[in-house]
Symmetry: C2
């Protein structure tokens, strides 16, 4: 991972391990973050596809516009639980969720 990428993650509030050389990051840590970011991207795509505003969607899932924005921005304060429950609420199937997770190895930018 280059430092640009790292900076982007840290700007979103991610606390990235205590790796000494400041660049290394465990594969597991990275995989987990990438999964969340993938779910976050899919969430936004699905919401837009349904022509829902963040506020409208928030109402549906008893959340708030600001939290939906954070979910879609890949904010570190958002749990996997919330991302998955939100995707399910948008009609995502297990199969689709599985695909998002399997294919999550993507660029962060």
């Amino acid at each position: 991972m280059n430092s640009t990428k790292r900076n982007k993650l840290e700007a979103k509030g991610w606390k990235l391990g205590d790796a000494q050389d400041f660049l290394a990051l465990s594969d597991e840590e990275m995989a987990f973050i990438e999964m969340k970011l993938a779910l976050s991207r899919e969430l936004k795509a699905r919401r837009l596809h349904k022509h829902l505003s963040q506020a409208g969607f928030a109402r549906r899932i008893n959340s708030s516009q600001s939290r939906v924005a954070k979910m879609e921005a890949g904010d570190a304060s958002v749990s996997m639980d919330l991302l998955i429950r939100s995707l399910l609420a948008l009609g995502a199937s297990r199969k689709e969720l599985a695909r998002f997770i399997e294919q999550s190895k993507r660029r962060v930018a």
Copy 2:
């Protein structure tokens, strides 16, 4: 869902919606719980396969034996985040995680 199944879930601390007839449960709610239970089963299977005790595994992931027991028991106090991070720590790949999620539609008992 029959009431036996529901009782088993409620015994583990799951708060199952407010469905009026006490049997109906949203597909999304059910899918989410089943995913967690599937991950929980896989976690136990992988740990045993590696001949690790709950205490030994807990040490590895900076957790505690009791929390590992709860993870494997499908306790409602365990988050998806923790389950997934734990599986990654046991060496599960994205592909495997995806499979567990896709195939999570299984019996609860």
